[in-house]
């Protein structure tokens, strides 16, 4: 069942074609800011009704993984994550592109995505049932501490002023409360505005705060957008592979992080990328300059976010609980097909499941040549397009992309307003990344906190709830360690240097 038969079934011309088409379509959709992986999958769902379940799953899986990968394109070339999962890719991808290493960045993103996706899919193939327990072990408290850990990344991101970064993060947390509260159905912080009842959409905020400031400065100066070295250097594939091997520990660790975060229901590619990047940054070797165009940053973010694809399917298929937002859509499609998810899925429909997993693996492998080609094409278009055309095109794309999120013109207006705010804040040393971090992690932190509080109070053991559970304690320890280690490292280094001098 799980072996040769399923693999052969996945290699039929139809399934291969679907995998190919899915990856191409997914990468194209993911590259456009405003179009998320969830949307890409949701658009496809009606087409899958006429198909038998295994090809339908392969198509959806291929689009999903392609979209998560495609988000890196605009992250690297336009400083705008094409999907939220590529947030951490902008931090080092865009600086690399600015200084002329955009081609290397694109190739690295492709390779890292493929490796991450393979590791996630392999975990799905071999360890799905035991790993699904991880999904259940994480309760509200763990999510709360995980969000806090994610927020501690702000300390690592704040090059200039830690205070400003933290203030930005707090601002983002507060802004995430605008609209109807998930925990209580109260309408908050709208100050009477009808437009804000829907809340600030994360994707619109991402586009606004990352892309608009770039546009505003682009339009003001006559210079080139990205530096380009005179002689064309091809894919720089050999160079990229060398870098990858050099940073293999980062690569593997980030992929594992991505798989685990994908397994956690409710946490998707964005959280995975952020956590992986944070860890990579914390364990940076001397000479690695994170935030200024360090290849390790792209490796960490892209491998982690693609690993969430395979990881997210674990609870989806084993427990019937979506691991990431696109999985919820896929579950819905399966339900319409009449496929019941849960432990019985592997026993009753094992052939479908394993054909699908092999198909996902194949789609991920196909992403390598396709991604390199598409990436090259995207890179070429962005650098050859004259600035006078680039600015209106990007402006137009951000507007149509933001509109498409929720079919809402208000979102577009909010996006532009946030963009101006982001540009102003950026001028005065308040970076966009901590704010967006707060915006994304706010709901996770709040819901985790309120739920844990409610349960803990009901059981009469609040302290035990928040500090007594093994996984939470591990996360807390990690957070403290990651906050303290830069300070400790510096002190170590100073001592070592002082010893040298003597």
């Amino acid at each position: 069942m799980s072996g040769l038969e399923a693999l052969l079934a996945a290699l039929t011309p139809l399934n291969l074609l679907l995998a190919l088409a899915g990856v191409v379509a997914g990468a194209a959709i993911g590259a456009i800011p405003g179009l998320t992986a969830t949307m890409a999958v949701a658009v496809l769902v009606p087409f899958t009704f006429g198909m038998p379940p295994a090809p339908a799953l392969i198509l959806m899986g291929a689009i999903y993984t392609g979209a998560i990968y495609g988000g890196a394109y605009s992250a690297i070339l336009l400083n705008t994550p094409g999907t939220p999962s590529a947030i951490a890719t902008t931090l080092d991808g865009y600086p690399m592109a600015r200084r002329g290493d955009g081609d290397l960045a694109m190739t690295l993103a492709c390779l890292a995505s493929v490796v991450g996706g393979l590791i996630g899919a392999l975990a799905l193939l071999t360890l799905a049932p035991p790993l699904s327990r991880v999904a259940l072990a994480f309760g509200p408290v763990e999510y709360f501490w995980l969000a806090i850990f994610g927020l501690s990344l702000i300390s690592a991101l704040s090059e200039g002023s830690l205070l400003k970064g933290l203030a930005g993060g707090a601002f983002g947390l507060l802004v995430s409360c605008i609209g109807v509260a998930e925990v209580s159905a109260d309408v908050r912080l709208t100050f009477g505005s009808q437009t804000l009842v829907g809340g600030i959409n994360v994707v619109a905020a991402l586009i606004g705060m990352f892309c608009i400031p770039v546009l505003i400065d682009l339009v003001a100066t006559p210079g080139r957008h990205l530096n380009v070295v005179a002689e064309p250097r091809g894919f720089r594939l050999a160079e990229a592979v060398r870098v990858l091997i050099q940073k293999k520990f980062n690569l593997i660790r980030s992929s594992v992080v991505g798989t685990v975060v994908g397994i956690l229901p409710g946490a998707g590619g964005s959280v995975a990328g952020i956590v992986a990047y944070s860890e990579a940054r914390r364990t940076a070797r001397p000479g690695e300059q994170y935030g200024k165009g360090e290849p390790g940053g792209i490796i960490a973010s892209e491998s982690a976010n693609n690993a969430t694809v395979g990881g997210g399917f674990i609870p989806t298929l084993v427990l019937g609980i979506p691991g990431t937002p696109p999985d919820a859509v896929i579950l819905g499609a399966l339900l319409v097909q009449g496929l019941r998810t849960g432990p019985s899925l592997f026993t009753d429909h094992g052939d479908i499941v394993y054909t699908f997993i092999w198909g996902l693996l194949i789609a991920t492998i196909l992403m390598l040549p396709i991604g390199l080609l598409l990436g090259r094409y995207a890179y070429k278009s962005i650098i050859t397009l004259p600035k006078a055309l680039l600015v209106p095109s990007v402006a137009f794309m951000t507007m149509i992309g933001t509109y498409a999120i929720r079919n809402s013109v208000s979102d577009v207006v909010i996006m532009i307003v946030l963009g101006v705010i982001g540009w102003v804040l950026g001028r005065f040393g308040f970076a966009a990344a901590p704010i967006v971090l707060g915006l994304i992690l706010g709901p996770i932190a709040e819901q985790g906190f309120v739920q844990a509080w409610t349960i803990g109070s009901a059981q009469g053991d609040l302290a035990g709830m928040f500090f007594g559970r093994p996984i939470s304690m591990a996360i807390i320890a990690f957070t403290i360690f990651s906050l303290a280690s830069p300070i400790l490292m510096r002190r170590w280094k100073l001592k070592a240097e002082a010893a040298h001098v003597e």
Binding site: S184, R188, I216, G429, F430, F449
Partner: protein, 165 residues
């Protein structure tokens, strides 16, 4: 921010203003929390707003004690910090106007007009005869291409102008 050659006087007064605005926002948020039905919904915003106010005050205090001094700025950044203000403002205004006009004029018309205007705003090089022909055509192709992708392929209901329906 990399620190290379070149220096400009740093007063960071802008950051102080931002910090003051953040304090005001935090205070407004706390005030808002008193109108909630459910206590659960007030806990988080209140805590976060308090933290925000403290941190923003921290930025303000630091500014007060750090008046003098220079901050080094790389030449690339200096060039960026300059640039044409009118174009910047025009960009934002055109985008906002387009967003607000979309429900009335319909998506396609607004897009084409705003694209054209932005093209002019973003043009720093001289308008050669070749460019006058080619650029608008390419621009039109881009707009129409995306329109088809979104409206027909992805089935996104783009706004149809209320003035024309």
């Amino acid at each position: 921010m990399s620190n290379d050659s070149g220096t400009t006087p740093a007063s960071d007064a802008g950051a102080a203003i931002v910090a003051a605005l953040l304090v005001i926002f935090g205070a407004a948020a706390v005030w808002d929390t008193y109108s909630y039905f459910d206590f659960d919904s007030a806990v988080f915003p209140r805590t976060v707003a308090a933290v925000l106010i403290l941190l923003a005050l921290g930025v303000l205090v630091r500014w007060l004690f750090q008046r003098a001094g220079y901050v080094s700025v790389s030449p690339a950044e200096a060039a960026e910090n300059g640039g044409s203000w009118p174009r910047r403002i025009a960009l934002v205004i055109v985008m906002l106007a387009a967003a607000l006009a979309m429900p009335w004029l319909g998506f396609l018309i607004t897009a084409i007009i705003s694209f054209g205007v932005l093209l002019v705003i973003a043009m720093h090089d001289p308008w050669t005869p070749g460019r006058i022909v080619v650029y608008p055509i390419v621009g039109l192709a881009i707009v129409v291409g995306f329109y088809f992708l979104f409206a027909k392929l992805l089935m996104v209901p783009l706004p149809a102008g209320r003035w024309f329906v």
